[in-house]
Each structure stands twice: as structure tokens, then as C-alpha cells.
Symmetry: C2
Subunit: 190 residues, 2 copies
């Protein structure tokens, strides 16, 4: 069983903690400003994009060697018309560059919290898309997701985080524009 730490106690952090807990793993939910709590093998950064830099600054050395999961959607909320990261980059790529000793994955950013908590999106089982350059790390996270009753798909290398963030952004704009609900969104039909 893995020890999974989730930094960030908002809707997404709580929902991911519930998924991880269903599989019988040890789960620690940590406030983003609590720099003292010990971290597990898998650390999910369930915080808004702007908070990643603080975590790198305060926790960077401690994150070395661990699987670090970036769930952010770096939406420009001033314009709601683009992401704030470089057009050919991603929040996950930035994080991987800032944490060269960590095994950074992108995941959960294409899932609304409600679909993680319920385990379903409409009549479909919720699917978590995972991108990253470390195959073992992806397998570990996919196992945690599957043990929590969801589906996991390996979406490729960390470069695919760019497309996952585009998908996450699009899904947020559709919900904000009331084209879909915050409990709906994109489901994956295999």
C-alpha cells in the first residue's frame, strides 16, 4: 500500500483523498501552508496553479524522489480566454523543470471534483487521464485510481500535459458558460 499525501484541502483535494482512501491506502490531507507534515511516496498538489511556486519553494527538496502529481488548470481568470503558461508549454512542464529530482505526473485536471467524488460522469465511470515521463510512476498512480473505483488511462508523455490542460480549460469554459454542468463534462468511451 502506498502512502499518499494530498496538499490542498479544497474540493479537489477532498475528492482525490476519497478516491485514494477507497483503495485502502494511507492518505494524509495536508493544508497547503502546513510545511511540517511528513510527505508520502505519492504527493498530489491539489492547489490552484499560482500556489505551485510556493510549494516548490517550501517543499522542493523534500519532494525529490517522490511521485508528484500536478492537477492544475492554469486558466487566466482575468480574461478567461487563455492559459497563463507558455503556449507550447504546460503547468506540469514548468513543475517538472522546477523539481528535476521528482517524478512529475499530470492527472485529475480533466475531472471535475464532483465526478471524482461520485465515481461517475453521467452513466460512465469517471476516467482519469495521466501524462508523464516515468512509466512506473504512471503505473502506481493508475493503480491507486483503479483501486478507488475509477478508470485510468495513460495519456502519454508529460508533453501531453499541454493537451490535458487545454481540455481542462475548455471543460471549465463550457461549465462556466452553462453549456454543461459542473458534475458533467468529458467522459471517455474506450
Amino acid at each position: 500500500m502506498a502512502h499518499i499525501s494530498i496538499i490542498g484541502t479544497g474540493n479537489m483535494g477532498q475528492a482525490i483523498a476519497a478516491v485514494a482512501g477507497r483503495g485502502g491506502h494511507t492518505v494524509t490531507l495536508i493544508g497547503k501552508d502546513d510545511a511540517d507534515a511528513r510527505l508520502g511516496d505519492v504527493v498530489v498538489l491539489a492547489v490552484p496553479y499560482p500556489a505551485l511556486a510556493d510549494i516548490v519553494a517550501s517543499r522542493g527538496a523534500e519532494l525529490a524522489g517522490r511521485i508528484v502529481v500536478d492537477i492544475t488548470n492554469p486558466v487566466d481568470f482575468a480574461t478567461f480566454d487563455s492559459l497563463t503558461v507558455a503556449a507550447d508549454g504546460s503547468a506540469a512542464a514548468e513543475l517538472a523543470a522546477a523539481l528535476p529530482e521528482s517524478r512529475v505526473l499530470k492527472a485529475f485536471n480533466t475531472n471535475f471534483a464532483g465526478t471524482l467524488a461520485a465515481g461517475t460522469v453521467g452513466a460512465l465511470t469517471t476516467t482519469v487521464l495521466i501524462a508523464g515521463d516515468d512509466a512506473d510512476a504512471k503505473t502506481t498512480l493508475a493503480g491507486i485510481v483503479a483501486a478507488g473505483g475509477l478508470k485510468a488511462i495513460d495519456a502519454g508523455s508529460l508533453r501531453r500535459a499541454r493537451e490535458l490542460e487545454a481540455l481542462g480549460f475548455l471543460q471549465i469554459t463550457l461549465a462556466a458558460g452553462e453549456k454543461i454542468s459542473w458534475t458533467g463534462g468529458f467522459g471517455v468511451i474506450a
Copy 2:
């Protein structure tokens, strides 16, 4: 009833022709090298991305004033690791710049041909995401899609074509990697 011309007679052209035909519209399916066929009010360019430039060159003047629908996914098939358009742009934005007198929409690029032909993706009705800057043009296309038995969602301005193309690319990589089938993909749960 609209007169809908579809340039390109491949799987996507045929599937979109079938959708449009179900609504009782006049549909003309035109070979991409047939420069003589008269065009309708709505022109779907059901061709691979590299063929768009030829159509602009041969048909540009004639496309003025018409609704022009770009369905392309400009995937770099040499690397299968990125799109070939500018990172902050899209094929649709390029097309709109090349056809300033046309009402350019992005649509159908997030739907595999099989899901358009069947009208379903898994147990869900197939949803066509439409982006564009001309609200009337989007309403016209959404009406054609709905009359053909599919769902349509207005995905926002033509700038959202960037995200639609990212989604289309991601979906193609998932199918090529056998994570999903070519009759599956992303379904939309409202």
C-alpha cells in the same frame, strides 16, 4: 433548408454528408480537386489540414460570404508529438485569416467519423463542439447538426479552436495508442 457543400469525399466527408442529409437539407459531396462544382451556403472542408491551402487558392473568392467549416486536426504525423500550427494559434485561425470574407467555424474535429455516422459514442449521443466568432453561423450549423440527430454545443469564440484542436489531437493519440477505439473517444455529458 440550407444547401450544404462538403469538399472531401473521405470517411469524414461521407459521415458529415449523412448527418446533414438526415435533416432534409440539400447536400453536395465534392471531390477536393473538383473546382467546378457550385458551392452552397455552408461549405464543410472535409480535407486533411495540408489541403486547406489549395482550397483557399482555388476557391477563396467563391468562399466569400459563406459559412466555411474547418474540421482539420493539424497533427505533425512525422513526430506524432505536436501540432504543426503555431502553439498559440490553430488551423481554424489560419483559415479565417486567409478567408477574411468568410464566416469560418471550427467543428467536427473532436468527433471520429464512426461516431458521426452512428450518431452515438458508446451509449451517448454524439456531440459536435462548434467554435466561431459569428453567432448566426454557429446557430445555422448547430441546427444542421441537431436536425441530423446529434447534439451541438457552442464552444465559444474561434480562439477556442486551439483547445478543440488539442482535444482532437489527444483523442487521435489515444486511439493510435490503442487506449481507446476509433469508434470511442470523448463524449460530452451535459
